[in-house]
Symmetry: C2
Subunit: 337 residues, 2 copies
């Protein structure tokens, strides 16, 4: 039926081991032999049996992408990048949905590692900042790369300066003339939340605007909490003229809250978010927000992970750039009616 390595060896007039060496790019093969083997491989449409390879080499060539229900769009972007990197490096990807915060969470992760003989993990928020998880993985000796972790010291992965991004966004609002700027934070468990808040504070401080706790409300990174908390901000006696929401979903909710109160964005309220989800361009008006290169982040984190799997002490924490997306939802200050 299907060609085996033995068939290739016979057809090329070499031993199995030599074919194996060619397949795995090992040294100690004469260039001519190498070419001859490769020709036969193509002619026979030979594809190695991955199960046999894994069994013999005692390796799975599998990495897992661990997540817990973040925004679907965000995760899908990450996943595309991770998958790209896996294919390029001849690794397989296994998907690892988990229920973070539940009792069985750690078991879900270790179970997957055991079951699938996973060689390394790519972690996404909020898993990236779960100390117990990181300790467990360290204990097991399973390498992992984190995407946007809050604490980065000595870890592998890729991160983005959310503090600077938030500060830049708020500075932009200030440059438009706004001074009463509200902020809706994300869910406390999520790393980015604290950083975005800190960036907000810093921008205010740099501009000499006093921090007013009344203007900061805790949201939950979703649309509903945006409607609710945005409403509270807009119902303030002296309402903000601009709001910086901790992510796009929340901002969409604020937009709704404004609309329900007869306020128009950006005429009566400037609004901005974070993430640049596709939705942010499809709402009306299009949302000013911060773009993070999720796909590249997935790809880079995976590449670093695979480096770490291959060579201990390899793999670094990379930093990627954000980019402000200035769209119609934020406009120059106008005195409230």
């Amino acid at each position: 039926m299907r060609a085996r390595i033995e068939d290739v060896a016979a057809a090329a007039g070499v031993s199995m081991k030599t074919v194996s060496r060619v397949l795995n790019n090992e040294p100690n093969v004469r260039e001519e032999t190498r070419r001859r083997v490769q020709e036969v491989v193509e002619r026979l449409h030979y594809a190695p049996n991955l199960s046999a390879r894994s069994l013999a080499a005692q390796r799975s060539y599998v990495v897992a992408l661990m997540y817990d229900n973040p925004s679907r769009n965000y995760l899908m972007e990450i996943q595309v990048g991770v998958l790209d990197a896996c294919r390029a490096q001849h690794y397989n990807l296994v998907l690892g949905p988990t229920h973070w915060g539940t009792e069985g969470f750690l078991g879900e992760v270790t179970g997957l590692i055991r079951q699938s003989r996973v060689e390394g993990l790519v972690l996404t928020p909020p898993l990236t900042d779960d100390a117990a998880l990181l300790a467990t993985l360290d204990g097991l000796g399973v390498p992992f790369a984190s995407i946007s972790p809050q604490v980065q010291t000595g870890r592998i992965g890729v991160t983005l300066d959310e503090h600077a991004a938030a500060a830049e966004m708020v500075t932009y609002l200030i440059s438009l003339g706004h001074r009463r700027i509200g902020h809706i934070t994300g869910h406390r468990s999520h790393g980015g939340c604290a950083w975005r808040h800190a960036g907000y504070r810093e921008a205010l401080a740099r501009a000499g605007i006093e921090y007013d706790p009344e203007l900061v409300i805790a949201g939950e990174f979703d649309y509903e909490s945006g409607v609710r908390t945005g409403g509270r901000l807009l119902d303030l006696p002296e309402r903000p003229t601009a709001i910086f929401a901790a992510n796009d979903d929340t901002a969409a909710g604020v937009l709704r809250a404004a609309s329900l109160r007869g306020l128009e964005v950006p005429r009566d309220l400037s609004l901005c978010g974070f993430d640049d989800t596709p939705m942010s361009q499809q709402i009306n008006p299009p949302l000013t927000t911060v773009r993070q290169p999720s796909r590249a982040m997935g790809r880079l984190a995976t590449l670093e992970l695979i480096k770490a799997i291959r060579g201990p002490e390899a793999g670094r924490m990379l930093r990627v750039d954000y980019a402000l997306q200035l769209r119609e939802s934020a406009a120059p200050y106008r005195a409230p009616r």
Copy 2:
């Protein structure tokens, strides 16, 4: 290090084969023996080596989810369902991104099948309706299940009556008093497009409203085409008072087009979409649309596929229900200003 089946056998005082039988739920094991083996399995944290199993059994236990860049949300929902089913049936999932319509497309699919020894495929639109692909798969003898195929005869998978859904949606608009109802179709290559259009026509016919080709424009299932085609409809001398867009992204674009013209939804225009993406609730006003149970569709299609893998002649085409989501974007007819 890690327990092998041999260790389990020794600890339980039985043969390897008996352990294997218990693990694979095969018959011919005394109930007491079965329990004893299971205890040891748990005690030793034994997890079978999947590579060894695949190699020995000459089976991969892998199914692939094939797709080509549909809406990220839609795909993610499908994927969650597929993954659920895979786990429940002890199958592994491999992701199969493709570039449909390019020269190398068929090679991408067959390459994946060879490389990963895939036992079956789950196909999503628009791959579901690619005759050449289906013929190739039939030729290879690889079973597949389609999600929402246009032609269903003799195939396996899950489908939804898009014709009826579209008709019901348009009938709803008519019941609100609208008679000049525009329709923006999807991309021709996508199966659903023709059906939704047919449903639109039927609803008009049933209500005795004449079909006006001027009110039907070809879109491309995305936001930009919605802005463009929606604009053209709204610029008509006698503009429609309602528009049925072939999907939510397009509808969002129409909303934008209306806004750019100073028209308010639903006051000046009733609008509805199809898919019920999360975005549809986050735009302003929330969008009336058709919900399809994507997650369940992914799960059911996968289960049928696995049935077909296990027993030839097994596996059917299932039909699932849609549900109209009536939200604020559609309202009773008001004469245009």
